[in-house]
Amino acid sequence: MKKVLIIDDEADLVELLKARLEQHQYEISTAFNGEEGFQVLEKVRPDLIILDVAMPKVDGYMFVQQFKQRENLQGIPILILTAKNTLHELFEAEGFYDYLVKPFEAEILLARIEELIGR
């Protein structure tokens, strides 16, 4: 089973994403901010990270900057899933091009995940 790590501070959305992805045979880990995300990453190596941007403590932007410094994490694709539709360029400058704006359509989200995991 492919593993997906969801990092988002909206507990309701995390629950929904987990239900949707589990139905499509993904194994889900969750974290409510970037800091927790790195803690999970010490134990699990996911096939994909779904990353929110506006979060307490370590937000999505700080997360990708720290992510780039960790050699052991390279190769894990990140899908940025955010309510902010004005930050593409900021993330592109850091080398992250996969961006989906909330509210999203489940079919599109699933298609993007499949494409990124290469399933």
């Binding site: 309701d12 929904l16 309510a83 539709n85 909330k102």
Partner: protein, 348 residues
């Protein structure tokens, strides 16, 4: 270095200085005018209430006093600054009043502060629209995904009646999302915060791709698609996403107001620009409404009852995006005669 002049002036020389001075000077003894230089006389003639007001400035204070006065025979108020100095005049204690018209200075200042205020209000408005729309998106995404999961049967089977009503919820969540996106777009366009990222694009393919998503609706209404392209490929340097947004907006308008006949896109390549048109055989626009068409929040031909409803921002956004590309948009239409939206895009 400050220049030094030797020798005192005689009284004739002093008189010349006072009489040619551009500064208005008047001398009052106990409120009565004893002398006024020529400029002061001109100013007194220009503002009939001035003499009275200045003479009532009781004791000389050295303070600058501002007077607002209507000009003789004009509506406009002028601002005069007046400063009075104590002196002795022909043996009696007197007041010398120096005054001048500073209206222009104040006008410039007030325009400057108006512009500053306007910019401040615009910035607050932009931040407000942007924050609110971002804040709305998160709960909206939760509502949308919840609805969509129930509809997809992820949490148990649902009846067809439940499905019907939940589908309405989903459609209206999407409508709300569109309103938020449009508001954000128009606010970005108005504040000049939107950036055009040009790349080489084949406009013919862009139009074909834009049309694809309308195929089901076009077939459902039994409409024909009539395109006319002057060349099989038309290369142009534009922001692909933004011009796609323009075509989608215009095409969805055409589709909304056309029940029979055809819709279509025309592309005509000229030396320096491409002329684009989106046309339909729909209800058309009454001539008195044509000029309002590109205004914000204007919905012409909005239907009551079932049917798609817009936000009244679509054409204002199209106009903004086309103008950012250096193009122009206009409309040709008559009630009952269909509509043709025409716009130009410079090639580079």
């Amino acid at each position: 270095m400050i220049p030094h002049f030797s020798g005192a002036l005689n009284s004739d020389e002093y008189r010349v200085l006072i009489e040619l001075s551009r500064n208005a000077m008047a001398i009052f003894v106990q409120g009565e005018l004893k002398y006024a230089n020529p400029v002061a006389l001109q100013v007194f003639a220009q503002f009939p209430n001035l003499l009275e007001k200045i003479s009532s400035l009781a004791v000389p204070t050295e303070e600058v006093v501002r007077l607002s006065l209507p000009e003789n025979g004009q509506n406009q108020e002028h601002v005069l600054e007046c400063q009075t100095t104590e002196l002795n005049w022909q043996g009696a204690p007197a007041a010398l009043a120096n005054f001048h018209d500073v209206s222009e200075y104040y006008q410039v200042q007030s325009i400057k502060s108006e512009i500053r205020e306007q910019k401040r209000v615009d910035r607050i408005k932009d931040e407000f629209v942007s924050t609110v729309s971002h804040e709305i998106r998160t709960p909206l995404s939760i509502i949308r995904e919840t609805t969509s999961q129930i509809l997809d049967g992820l949490h148990g089977e649902i009846t067809s009646a439940q499905k019907n009503f939940l589908s309405k919820t989903l459609r209206n969540i999407d409508r709300l999302t569109k309103i938020i996106n449009d508001l954000l777009d128009i606010s970005k366009i108005e504040s000049g915060k939107i950036e055009i990222r040009r790349e080489k694009v084949d406009l013919v393919s862009l139009v074909r791709d834009s049309l694809v998503q309308f195929t089901p609706q076009i077939q459902k209404k039994g409409l024909q698609v009539l395109n006319s392209f002057s060349h099989p490929h038309i290369e142009i340097s534009i922001d692909k996403d933004k011009i796609t947004q323009v075509f989608i907006n215009l095409l969805s308008n055409s589709l909304k107001f056309t029940e029979q006949g055809h819709i279509g896109v025309g592309l005509k390549e000229w030396d320096n620009f491409v002329e684009c048109s989106v046309m339909d055989t729909g209800v058309g626009v009454a001539s008195e409404d044509l000029s309002k068409l590109f205004n914000k929040f204007i919905q012409i031909g909005r239907t009551d009852g079932p049917g798609q409803k817009g936000t009244g921002l679509g054409l204002a956004i199209c106009k903004g995006l086309i103008e950012l590309h250096g193009g122009k948009i206009w409309v040709q239409s008559e009630r009952g005669q269909g509509t043709q939206m025409i716009f130009t895009l410079p090639k580079t």
